[in-house]
Symmetry: C2
Subunit: 764 residues, 2 copies
Amino acid sequence: MKQKELHIEGIIKRITRFIYVFLLTLCSGGVASLFAQQHPLLILKKQEINTIRKNVAQAPLFQQVVAKNQAIVDQEIKLGPQVPVPKDMAGGYTHERHKRNFFVLQKAGNLFQITGDEKYARYIREVLLAYAKLYPKLGLHPTKRSYATGKIFWQCLNDTNWLVYVSQAYDCIYDWLKPKDRHLLETQLFRPFADFISIKNPQFFNRIHNHSTWGNAAVGMIGLVMGDKELINRALYGLQLNKSDDAQKDDDNGLITLPNQKKAGFFAQLDHAFSPDGYYTEGPYYQRYAISPFILFAKALANNRPDLKIFRYRHDLLKKAVYALLYQTDRQGLFFPINDAQKGMSFKSRELISAVDIIYESQGKDASLLSIAEQQGKVTMDYSGFVVAQDIHQKKSQPFIRKSIELSDGKNGDEGALGILRSRKDDQEVCLVFKYTAQGLGHGHYDKLSYSLYGNQGEVIQDYGAARWVNIDQKQGGRYLPENRTWAKQTIAHNTVVMDETSHFKGHFSTGNAHHSDRYFYDASNPNFQIASAKDLHAYPGVKMHRTLALLKDKAFDKPILIDVFRVDALKAHQFDLPLWFQGHLLNTSFQYKAQTQQQSTLGTQAGYQHLWKEALGKSTTNQAQFSWFHRGEFFTATSWVSNNDELIFARLGANDPSFNLRRDPALIIRKKDQKQTVFATIIEPHGAYSPVDEVPQRPFGQVSKIVVSHQSDAYTAIEFSTGKSSRWTLIIVNNNHNLKAQHQLKIQNKTFRWQGVYHLFKH
Amino acid sequence: MKQKELHIEGIIKRITRFIYVFLLTLCSGGVASLFAQQHPLLILKKQEINTIRKNVAQAPLFQQVVAKNQAIVDQEIKLGPQVPVPKDMAGGYTHERHKRNFFVLQKAGNLFQITGDEKYARYIREVLLAYAKLYPKLGLHPTKRSYATGKIFWQCLNDTNWLVYVSQAYDCIYDWLKPKDRHLLETQLFRPFADFISIKNPQFFNRIHNHSTWGNAAVGMIGLVMGDKELINRALYGLQLNKSDDAQKDDDNGLITLPNQKKAGFFAQLDHAFSPDGYYTEGPYYQRYAISPFILFAKALANNRPDLKIFRYRHDLLKKAVYALLYQTDRQGLFFPINDAQKGMSFKSRELISAVDIIYESQGKDASLLSIAEQQGKVTMDYSGFVVAQDIHQKKSQPFIRKSIELSDGKNGDEGALGILRSRKDDQEVCLVFKYTAQGLGHGHYDKLSYSLYGNQGEVIQDYGAARWVNIDQKQGGRYLPENRTWAKQTIAHNTVVMDETSHFKGHFSTGNAHHSDRYFYDASNPNFQIASAKDLHAYPGVKMHRTLALLKDKAFDKPILIDVFRVDALKAHQFDLPLWFQGHLLNTSFQYKAQTQQQSTLGTQAGYQHLWKEALGKSTTNQAQFSWFHRGEFFTATSWVSNNDELIFARLGANDPSFNLRRDPALIIRKKDQKQTVFATIIEPHGAYSPVDEVPQRPFGQVSKIVVSHQSDAYTAIEFSTGKSSRWTLIIVNNNHNLKAQHQLKIQNKTFRWQGVYHLFKH
């Protein structure tokens, strides 16, 4: 062939490709996206780069992040590409190396765009070509220990993490790459990769689960970068559902397919994963993990498929989900550790930094989010992070106020709720977390109607969290420990009633998963008296449990106090235990007790009781049981109404713990024996302060002198409580009529109470 | 009498008084003080007031303190004088009220001078007149529970606190008061008060003890204000000593008179209380309390009796004492809790704020003290505090570097020492506190050659401190708890060897008080290898104990590591226990152990063992016992040389604790049975990091793979240790020859080691 012919053939080829690309573009998103073809387009956008470069000096926090990331990536560039043949489990070299790679590539991509330094692009190209060479040769990861084994990692989940991050890196060098390289990468690496985690693993890709959300986002994000409409649609709407998956379970014993699941893909995740309030049924620890693919893919869709109005979906669902996460943190930003949660996880996590920045920048610039970003001390290295840093620098930040909020559970918001009450007095805050949710899937604990309480310094009445040391090799490779099942999930590990030393639903997952508690009422409208009430009818068949919790702020008390009224109603007589997992050091008690001084044995044999040492046994002769403790500079006093027959058991966690996996935490258990109907009534007062530096106790004594259940019937429960200084209150709860307009009257010891609505607090 | 005569008589009276005052002044301090008569003169000086007023805007921290104190005092002025008839113990109303009074009066005095607002002077006058009316009517305080019962308080000690503070208030309004008022106050209140706490209570005033230092300071300070030479001399040199006091003991069972005590008064305190290095034998918790009267009275003497050169006394002893206190704090400023100390006390205490400010301002303006003041966040409301605040504002502050230091014990510095070694690598610090001191008087613990270890976040290998909740009424009125004697003072509560389950000196105070450990050598000259060695020959008659502790910094290790070599040499075979009170959560062990899962019983019956639950028992088959734990974000690994017969006991504190007075802390006890001579050898490695926010463990494994005692004889002890990566070291200690020039050689397994001096570390 002659030179000229070759040249013409070249021109024809180029014209053909242009027409092909043009048509593809038209098909994959209409004319709008034709003009948005310039990369990057995914998270960081071409048109944002100049703004960042020009104004970076006005965003010092952003500059710090860029400098820090440059140091990290420059070191990797010096080391050179490291793309080993996969073989290790989590914690092992190849796992950690590939994990490091995707974080580094994503950073390198953004650094290339922000700094313009081509060394970052060259590094990405080199690493990606190494992956493109490796990937076609890979079979399944040799570990084969997952229901969905990956290729790069031991589970598909990690492969999808890789693709979510690497698609961003690819996006950032897309225009810089030669078409030949793009072609190679897309045919040898990205498209097969996307197919593997979806078509080849429908049991992974089609679930309603945070794993699959990562899968959807990964496929969708690489699809957007490549302009591959098929992948984008697969990400949004899933694969064809296959009925044969119904009985399968995952590595954590979760169901592969939800009962009656009709859809899959990203929209199905949005439909199922969150309640209308943005609550995620597994709890905030897992919501924090799951939020990343939701927010990142949504941001990518908002950038490239504005027609989907993804952030408007289900009444701003994703924005609500981020706020729901923030409301589920204590004053230090730590998440409430309900269900399987490792304590200490907080809004400083990578996932929340990115979520807060994106929601701030793209969803209304709520200035109170800036104060969260300030506490996080970091921003994400993209336009959102830049805007946040710039606005912080411009002193636009406002305090983020954690409000009282009830977060409904269940995709329709009708499967119970998490009731959060917060009461402030001066600089003191008391926060109640009341759990009347659904089971929380495979990560749920058996703790219907449990609660935890927070003071200024964190947990006062604790939720144990999970028995797991995430990624700590010395503790069974970082997996859930056996004690997670035998202890942490059991009911006695939580602040709620245990009947006959048996956990709720007998600890059976499928039974628990089929039920949820029910909100009865929630009223935080009066800041001085906030109250929530819920019932559970399924934890123990034939037993009605009804708990009401309230925060009262009154000049009689140093700080807001907690009122706890827990009514149980069974057909036959049973033993009921209510533990109080107080954090801190016992000071004294109003009742006599006998400690086990020379010998200790376990409190029981199963349902978590085998893990408790019985430290002491007390009885009260006064119908009152009061004890005080000290924790992190604050005093606390609990006062309970008890009978002469009730046992007051001081228990200590740590029995049957052959590998020292459990903490040695204390509890006081109020045990009522041989009861059909009974009420547990307790008031907890936080008060005063003490610092070992000045050694002067401030207000070291509680004020409540007495609490009495003054009436109990099917219709009403009433408690009366008073202080030594003769303030006196009666709280009446209407047990079975939540009509707010209904008029009631009740005579208690010659006094007639009249009120309207489902509860009333009388101050005498 | 006629008007004129009256007038003349008045003039004569005034002239007479003038001559009287003139003569008195001459007698009480010479001509110099005649010109210094203007008040205030004690702590704050007349001539300083203008400087403060003029420049207060340049000292914002000082301004804050003034504003805060104004708020406090103004509230008291509003309330009006409260001078009740004394009747209560500490914690009760009259006690706390009178205590509050003296703090408030002192503040009010300085506020009068600084602000010039007469309301403060009027308030002081009113309160003092109320005291002057009350005091002459008072007998002994009705409690009569002290060896030296006070009048205002249950013990003279508190009465002297009152006078130290109130003498400053009186000084501040002295010139403002009418002579008639001064006369009344001096004759009805101050002079009788000073006589009561001295002449009427020689058993209190003449001791060598921190109580008496307060007494000396109180008498001396009011003496300086009143120009009363007799009181000043009494304060400086004490009362005549009375031999009949010899056998008396105080409320804490301390001796009233020291054996062979020949002097009393402030100079005698200075001679006896501190070692030449400024170490106070009871330890830093009590030194912090004692430092107040020393520094305040010294400052008053420096202002008014410069001839005494008080700050130069014993080679700048008081300055050394303040630095010794600062060196005995961890990175958070918390004092090492050796002996009877409540944990949490820190350099932020009132006493240290005042001491640091006064030493800074008057003793050389060491800029590193300013960084301490910044961390304290407060300054004292006088000229010293003003200067500190001004210099902080001028950015003169320099970092305070805590150095390695050996603080000798005993008034002549020959009664053992506290050896402190500190090793830094990057931002990591490891600090060793090695206790080879004297007993520490009545507040001493029985823990010869014990140590504690600190990481960046505080204690890693802990000292238990005292079993006491100071001023917490719920814990036996805030007094020492019974468990202080049965647990906290016992040897097993500390990181040192216990023989045959019996404490050092069998826990007998007078035996322990008669002896001290001996330094053998201390060498912190090489920052990469710092080492201290000490012996004790008296804790167990006939048993020689010799411990050597070193900090090694080497690139083989993530952070500096601790090497512990403890040799015991007895005439007969015994059982030796060495506990390791590790703080944190056990991760794993290299050896097998069997946990007590269903039943627990105590480890022993006495000497503190009755307070320990035996949680698990292990044995090693490899001559190595390794275990790791996690604490406050850091990993730790301990590796010990053990025999097949050694028992490895996991113990938990909390048995025989009928009132929940003890913490539930863990220990690993290495038990060697039936031994005459033996060596305990352990290496502790701090390493890595883990945060629950990112869940990625950094360097979670220790490096030491082996430690062996490779030689033991009367002459030498040698240990060899190595890492998995084949770094290898031999440390040889010369047991009985601390000649630094001596040449040694020793053959260990065919290898001959040659060195000079008392120890050598060989790296192979």
